[in-house]
């Protein structure tokens, strides 16, 4: 009953946070208690509705082949109708549950985390707006709706990264995030326009029919270009190499924002877009290969940077990039199921870890360097437990959530390409290593004498507990209930554990954790020695492969150089022409002015001379006067 109601009122799911945004933004900004209450209540209602939609999936009311679609025309001009609407299938149902759940948890957490902040109401207004736009993106029926909300979540990301706008670094990070993702979005926009030109529709359902037909008829050449242009959007939004540079800097925002937007929801919009448009990508083997390799490379690359970072949130940010690479890899090897499964579990355990990191930062204000922490497990037991669960989950230790989803991805990769599988396994090893490093350095070892940490308040502990439980069971339950039967593209994928692959990755993860424990648990000397021994590699990783510096240099050399050239043209060519014309008319006018001598007899000469010339001209040119010239007269 309720699932029927929820399905047919799915449009309420994004609308409720919009209402919260309007109420809080317009009326309650100065009343912290009410603004938080309104936001949390609306999120809760959204979450309940999303759960109803989820029940609809379990009851088989909607399946991949039988989605629920509601459309209404949004923009109608002759020859073009663009709809807004609701597209509910298991894929978007999973996303709805993940987004509303994490959003709810983060809002509850923010009540404690942001307490006393001057912009408390503004923060909740932005969070509500973000939830609304993200949910609008998830239920998009066509590319235009998706693109509109895609940009809106980018805007919310910008606003929330720059939440502490009085800090220069936050402002710069917000701009960097917005501009970097815009680069990718430009490709996405061109891709969408090309799709409209090729097919005359942007509706997912209609395209899902006409794209395979087109490929069967015309081949894949042009469509591969379109698909890769569309994929530029996810590269920017989901922090894939080479547009990943904004995501670590985005950690300038408040930690709940990092957990919600830059770990669990917005950054996976790229993954969701590829999954949603999988009817397009799946028929283009070349595009799939590109996606797989970019994902695999990003996963490995970001993990290798996370090795040496010292800022607790930056480590998590690089870990997020790495895990997003994993999801892209899963899509590239053709497994929407594995990708969405990992997306879900990752949302739980990465949000958990970010919120735990937020609790650490809350207990130790103004400290980001993990080596300035240490021994926090005594004073912050709940946070320590939460972070441990998160680390075990992301490292893929059974029976935590990450084990099942990561194993799915490894299995899918191993069936397609051995090199991709090896890279994925290597990444999983590195992930376990740097995550254990984080855990050991922050929570174990001796306490620092000048630190006075305290455990987080209740409102922050509740989300930690809820997400902690989900990070434990969030993998096994979908696995046991055959996630692949519901969320899939094409035939149902019956998930099974391949004991060789699962065993290998588990053994490697345990080994990596033991290695990290050995290096970092035994005092700082060992790690320093290693850093000195491999100083070249250490510096390369510590400075993030100098990619930011490279981009700065490129920007400085080419963009600024081009700007200088244009400036020169502007000053000397365009202004030269304009000023020259003005100067010429000035000179001409001055010269002509002098001809007005005031001497009336000179005027008489000129007038008579001109009259003579006109008469002569008329006589010579006009045939009527020719007769007069040649004779006749009186």
């Amino acid at each position: 009953m309720f699932s029927q109601y929820a399905l047919h009122h799915a449009w309420l799911i994004p609308l409720l946070p919009v209402i919260a945004f309007i109420i809080v933004g317009l009326f309650l900004r100065r009343i912290p208690v009410l603004s938080a209450a309104v936001s949390v209540c609306m999120s809760l209602l959204s979450f309940v509705l999303a759960l109803g939609v989820g029940y609809g999936v379990i009851d088989q009311l909607i399946t991949v082949d039988n989605p629920l679609i509601q459309r209404m025309p949004w923009l109608v001009i002759p020859g073009l109708t663009i709809d807004m609407g609701v597209y509910i299938d298991p894929l978007s149902a999973v996303m709805l549950i993940v987004v509303t759940l994490v959003s709810l948890m983060v809002q509850i957490y923010s009540i404690g985390y942001m307490r006393g902040d001057a912009g408390f109401g503004r923060f909740f207004a932005y969070l509500s707006l973000f939830s609304a736009t993200m949910l609008g993106l998830v239920i998009a029926v066509n590319f235009v709706q998706l693109y509109v909300f895609w940009e809106l979540v980018g805007l919310c990301s910008y606003l929330l990264i720059g939440y502490y706008f009085h800090k220069v670094s936050a402002r710069e990070a917000a701009k960097k995030a917005f501009i970097t993702t815009r680069i990718g979005d430009f490709g996405l926009l061109i891709g969408i326009v090309l799709l409209q030109i090729l097919f005359g529709t942007l509706d997912f359902q209609h395209l899902g029919v006409s794209v395979p037909a087109y490929v069967a008829q015309q081949g894949t050449g042009l469509l591969t270009v379109v698909a890769l242009l569309i994929f530029l959007g996810p590269i920017g939004k989901s922090g894939q190499f080479p547009l990943h540079v904004w995501l670590p800097d985005a950690m300038e925002g408040p930690t709940p924002v990092s957990a919600l937007i830059h770990a669990a929801t917005m950054v996976v919009a790229g993954v969701y877009l590829v999954a949603r448009a999988f009817f397009l990508f799946s028929v283009l083997p070349n595009a799939m290969e590109v996606i797989a390799w970019i994902g695999a490379f990003t996963a490995c690359f970001a993990a290798s940077i996370a090795f040496t970072q010292r800022d607790i949130k930056r480590i998590l940010a690089y870990s997020t990039i790495s895990q997003l690479g994993y999801m892209m890899l899963a899509l590239g090897v053709g497994s929407v199921t594995a990708s969405m499964f990992h997306l879900t579990t990752h949302a739980f355990f990465k949000a958990l870890m970010f919120l735990a990191a937020g609790a650490v930062l809350h207990g130790l204000p103004d400290k980001n360097d993990i080596f300035a922490m240490g021994g926090l497990r005594h004073k912050m037991p709940v946070t320590f437990a939460a972070m441990t669960i998160g680390v075990l989950a992301i490292s893929g230790i059974p029976p935590f959530a990450g084990f099942f989803s990561k194993d799915e991805i490894l299995l899918a990769a191993s069936q397609v390409s051995m090199p991709l599988y090896v890279i994925a396994v290597l990444t999983s090893f590195m992930t376990a290593f740097y995550m254990t490093r984080l855990l050991v350095v922050v929570f174990c070892g001796p306490e620092k004498p000048d630190n006075h940490p305290h455990e987080a308040p209740v409102s922050m502990r509740i989300p930690l507990v809820v997400l902690g439980i989900l990070a434990i069971i969030g993998g096994y339950i979908p696995y046991a209930y055959h996630f692949g039967d519901w969320v899939r593209f094409g035939p149902a994928l019956h998930m099974g554990l391949n004991w060789t692959i699962a065993g290998t990755s588990t053994v490697l993860s345990v080994a990596a954790m033991a290695l990290a424990w050995f290096i970092y648990g035994s005092g700082k000397a060992t790690s320093d020695k290693l850093a000195r021994r491999f100083s070249a590699l250490y510096n390369l990783s510590y400075h993030k492969y100098y990619i930011d510096e490279l981009y700065l240099w490129l920007n400085h050399t080419f963009v600024d150089g081009f700007g200088k050239l244009l400036y020169w043209i502007e000053i000397y060519v365009i202004e030269g022409i304009v000023n020259g014309l003005a100067h010429l008319s000035l000179q001409l006018g001055d010269w002509l002015r002098r001809k007005q001598t005031g001497n009336m007899q000179r005027y008489g000469y000129i007038m008579f001379g001109a009259a003579l010339l006109i008469v002569a001209g008329l006589l010579l040119l006009n045939p009527l006067f020719k007769g007069v010239l040649c004779g006749g007269g009186y």
């Binding site: 002098r594 007005q596 001598t597 005031g598 001497n599 009336m600 007899q601 008489g604 000469y605 009186y634």
Partner: protein, 102 residues
Amino acid sequence: MIGLAHFLTVAAMVFAIGLYGLLTKRTVVGILMSIELMLNAVNINLIAFSRFITPDVLTGQVFVIFTIAVAAAEVAIGLAMVFRVYRDRNTVHAARLNEMRW
């Protein structure tokens, strides 16, 4: 027999004399007199054309009467201005009355 051509020739000569005076006379009074000559040359032309080409209608001759009236008015105003200028500047030299230049 004296024909149209003779009248026209005389008129042209009077006009040329007037034009010469207009362009060369140094005083404004002389210039006004030259203008009168040129006007009268035109009048001769009009009368001649009227007499020889359209003897039945008197349009040309009536027109000349208007011209003479207008010319008289013009000379009256012109001479009045010349007197004012002479009172003011103590000169009627055309070359010196160049305050209206650029």
